[in-house]
């Protein structure tokens, strides 16, 4: 047991789509300053779990609480204002705006709301953090793939979130970009941010996560440090099938 109360906790969180149970009775806690990996094979319900936390979907049953307050019934915008911020599996930027304006969106409307020069300065600071300050006035259409991901990350960071949800943020990067991406998330970790990572890249999971929750077919099958869970026979079976376990 941890002495301090968890920032985020899920108890029996369930999401059904008709007869399909996408997320089945999931329980887990995320402590402050912790980086938690949410891993599992494709279709295991990781992204749906993230959607439940961020309010994109409402849980069918179970509770999700942020510092002890239930948030499962709230809309996405209310959850964002309470301090849970996310990136999307397929990068979503604001196409008509500049890089800086994209990031300003997070600074102006997020958990801590800013305006005017304060919002500009904060957005700029976030762009420096992700290494994009020199592209601040570029149009988002002119960016490379990893840079679009940086913009999205800066936008979520600009809202000063209590919990950051990264949905396969490292997916689709080439080896060089991947090294940069992992270094960037490590920097966020060192800043003491609370992060949930949905990720497939094993190197990233090993080097970034304090703890992992493994999902398979909507259920939690393991929880522990990356080394523990990745050597768990049930986890190996879930990823590779019976023969390799």
């Amino acid at each position: 047991m941890r002495a301090d109360a968890p920032v985020l906790s899920l108890r029996g969180a369930t999401k059904r789509f008709g007869g399909l149970v996408a997320v089945n009775e999931i329980d887990f806690d995320v402590a402050e300053h912790e980086v938690m990996g949410l891993i599992g094979p494709n279709g295991s319900g990781k992204s749906t779990t993230l959607n439940l936390i961020s309010g994109a979907l409402k849980p069918t049953s179970g509770t999700i609480s942020l510092r002890g307050t239930p948030i499962g019934h709230l809309s996405a915008q209310e959850i964002a204002r309470r301090g849970i911020s996310r990136t999307f599996q397929l990068v979503r930027l604001l196409p008509s705006m500049t890089v800086l304006d994209n990031v300003r969106a997070g600074a102006v409307f997020g958990h801590r709301r800013r305006w005017g020069a304060e919002a500009d300065a904060h957005a700029m600071k976030m762009l420096e953090l992700v290494g994009l300050a020199r592209r601040a006035h570029a149009h988002v259409g002119q960016l490379t793939y990893i840079d679009t991901k940086r913009v999205e990350l800066a936008r979520t960071l600009a809202s000063d979130p209590k919990v950051l949800l990264l949905d396969e943020w490292l997916a689709g990067l080439n080896p060089t970009e991947l090294t940069e991406g992992i270094a960037l998330i490590r920097r966020l970790r060192e800043e003491g941010r609370t992060i949930i990572l949905v990720e497939h890249v094993m190197d990233a999971i090993r080097s970034l996560c304090d703890r992992c929750v493994v999902m398979s077919s909507g259920t939690k099958i393991a929880e522990g440090t990356p080394t523990e869970v990745l050597s768990d026979p049930e986890v190996i079976r879930a990823y590779l099938g019976d023969d390799d376990a």
Binding site: A56, Q77, A80, R86, F88, R92, M97, G116, A117, S159
Partner: protein, 311 residues
């Protein structure tokens, strides 16, 4: 905190308004009539674009708000001071927009369009029914207001609409709407109350359209539902705004002026085929100028910049 460009734009705007206000002293009766039409559509198209421009929700409810405004004047001018009627119409327009907005802005795309078109028709049928029951055919609005008074009132209203639009553009609300227009999902997940932002802007455009109706009622002298709630008005406002372009505050008026003259020519030469020609104009605009004159200008500017960059 204003930049030099903003001061310059404000000065240009003010100069154009003073110039427009002088029209009755220099032009004849015909020019004044055209002026009233242009001022009317400028208010309607600009306020329409304030909402529909950033959100991309095409509203065909202009006639509903406009009609509400004309009937506010029509029913109220004998009982209330005339100068109270226009603000009253604006309040009623905003209230109707709030109700409609809360009920429908969760709808997206074509459902919203159909609902707004249906709304204007519904109100028209209700008023017609009310008149049948009471035995009245229409309303006479007899005032001593002249065309010049109406023109100046519309100009003041237009100035208010531009000022509101400019202030919204600089506010958090304006920024929220641009984000909503780009990606509503991102807007929600960034913490924007998307429903409230959309309803507020819809109320602004509803209030402006109702005020326009209230100002124009004395010009019609005799108002009836078919005139006050004509769906043609809603379509014309959309066409004019799209022709000008909704990306900039000054966009719609750039569409209103040429379209008003075009429409005058069509009405004079082909009085029986106006609807057909209106449809053709709509098609032509959508195909040739999908982003209006504003979009055309942006494209030209981008091309020129690109050419400079390569030369």
């Amino acid at each position: 905190m204003m930049t030099t460009t903003e001061y310059r734009n404000l000065a240009i705007g003010a100069a154009l308004f003073i110039l427009a206000a002088c029209l009755p002293f220099v032009g004849g009766a015909y020019l004044l009539t055209i002026g009233v039409t242009i001022a009317m559509y400028t208010v309607l198209a600009t306020s329409w674009a304030l909402f529909s421009g950033p959100t991309h929700y095409i509203s065909l409810a202009t006639a509903a708000f406009f009609g509400l405004g004309t009937y506010t004047t029509g029913l109220g001018f004998e009982h209330l001071d005339y100068w109270l009627l226009v603000p009253l119409a604006a309040i009623l327009g905003a209230a109707l927009a709030a109700i409609v907005g809360v009920a429908t802005l969760r709808l997206s795309g074509v459902y919203f369009v159909i609902f707004t078109l249906g709304l204007a028709e519904l109100i028209r049928q209700l008023v017609t029914w009310g008149q049948n029951v009471s035995g009245q055919k229409g309303l006479y609005v007899l005032t001593d207001l002249t065309e010049v008074h109406i023109y100046w009132q519309l100009l003041v209203l237009a100035a208010l609409v531009y000022l509101t639009g400019w202030l919204i553009g600089r506010s958090r609300l304006g920024f929220a709407l641009r984000i909503i227009g780009d990606d509503e999902e991102v807007a929600r997940h960034s913490g924007i109350n998307t429903a409230r932002a959309k309803v507020l802007l819809f109320m602004v455009s509803g209030a402006a359209a109702a005020a326009t109706g209230a100002i124009l009622a004395p010009r019609y002298i005799y108002i009836e539902p078919a005139l006050a709630f004509t769906p043609m008005l809603s379509f014309q406002v959309v066409i004019m705004a799209l022709l000008g372009g909704t990306g900039r505050l000054w966009g719609p008026v750039v569409g209103v002026i040429p379209f008003t003259f075009l429409w005058e020519a069509i009405s004079a030469s082909f009085p029986n085929q106006t609807t057909l020609l209106l449809g053709l104009c709509f098609l032509a605009i959508v195909f040739i100028l999908p982003k209006g004159f504003v979009g055309l200008l942006t494209t030209i500017r981008t091309r020129m910049n690109a050419r400079e960059a390569f030369s």
